[in-house]
Symmetry: C2
Subunit: 143 residues, 2 copies
DNA sequence: TTCATATAGATGTATTTTCATCTAATCTAT
DNA sequence: ATAGATTAGATGAAAATACATCTATATGAA
C-alpha cells in the first residue's frame, strides 16, 4: 500500500511548484517590459508558424486553452490588430486566424524578453543528459 | 548564438504543457466528485502537517500564492469552517491558521480522489531509476 | 430527404485572480 | 522616544477564467 509521501507525489509537487515559479517569473518579466502575457505569446507564435493560418479549435488543442477563454482572448488579440480573422469557406461555422505584420513584430519584441528568461532558467539544465529524459517524461504526461 | 527551437525551450514547453494537462485533469476529477479545487487541498494539507498552525504569509511562500488571492481563498475556506483563525499574540498584525476537524475530514475525502490521480499519472514513472534526479532538477527551478 | 447528433464558436453570468492601495502593527536607526 | 521604512493582511476595482448555454452549421444514419 502506497503512503502519501511517496515518490509520485513528490514528483507532482515538484512539477507543480517548478511550473508556477517559472511561470510567475516570466509573466513578471513581460509585464515589467510592458508586454502582454505568455498566453498571447503562445497564440502569436503558434500562428506565426502556421503559414496557412489556423482554426481556433486547433489553437485550443495545441495550447490547452479553455474554449470560452480562447474565444475571448482572441477577441482581445484581434482587437489589437495582431491577428486577423477570415471566414472559412469550407465550414461556415468556423474561421481562420492569421497573424499580422504587427503581430509578428510584437511576437519578436516579446521574444527579446521571453527568450532570455528561458535561457536563464533552463539553459543551465539543458546539458544534463537527464534533462532529455525529463523532457520525455513531461511529454508523456500530456493528454 | 542560440536559436529559438533549442533545448531549453523544448524543456519549458514540455513543462508548461505537462503541468497544464495534468492540472486540468485533476481539477476535473475533483469537480466531478463535487469537491473543492487543488488550491484548497494544498492549504488544508499544509495546515494539517503544521500542528502549531501556520501564518498566512508562510502559506503564501510555501504554496506560491499571490497575497491577495490567498487572503480571499482563506476567507472562503474559513467561511466553510475548514480552517480557524486565531490572533497571533506575538505580532498583532498577523494571525494563525489551524485546520479544523471538518477540514481534516474534507482533506481526506479529497485525497481519496486526488491520490489515485497522482498514482495514475505519476506512478508509472516512479520506477524510473533516477526519479530522484529528475525531481531534483524540477526543484532547482523553484525560486 | 429528414431527424438526431455533433461541432465551431460566442456570450451571459459567476467565480477567481490580479493590481493597486490601504490600515495597522512592527522594526530600525537615530 | 520617534520618524521613516517594512511587513501582515484586507479590500475596491479591473481583468481573466470557468461554466452553462446558445446559435449556426455540418454530419450521419434511417
Amino acid at each position: 500500500m502506497k503512503i502519501m509521501g511517496s515518490e509520485p507525489t513528490a514528483f507532482w509537487v515538484a512539477l507543480n511548484l517548478a511550473y508556477r515559479s517559472v511561470h510567475r517569473d516570466m509573466e513578471e518579466a513581460l509585464k515589467q517590459a510592458g508586454l502582454p502575457s505568455l498566453r498571447w505569446y503562445d497564440v502569436l507564435w503558434e500562428l506565426e508558424r502556421a503559414p496557412d493560418g489556423m482554426r481556433p479549435f486547433e489553437l485550443e488543442n495545441d495550447l490547452l486553452f479553455e474554449q470560452s477563454n480562447l474565444s475571448r482572448t482572441l477577441r482581445r488579440i484581434v482587437g489589437e490588430g495582431l491577428v486577423e480573422e477570415f471566414t472559412y469557406a469550407a465550414d461556415r461555422r468556423g474561421k481562420v486566424l492569421r497573424i499580422t505584420a504587427k503581430g509578428r513584430r510584437l511576437r519578436k519584441q516579446m521574444w527579446a524578453v521571453y527568450g532570455p528568461q528561458i535561457e536563464n532558467k533552463f539553459g543551465p539544465l539543458a546539458d544534463t543528459e537527464d534533462a532529455d529524459k525529463l523532457i520525455a517524461i513531461l511529454k508523456s504526461l500530456i493528454s
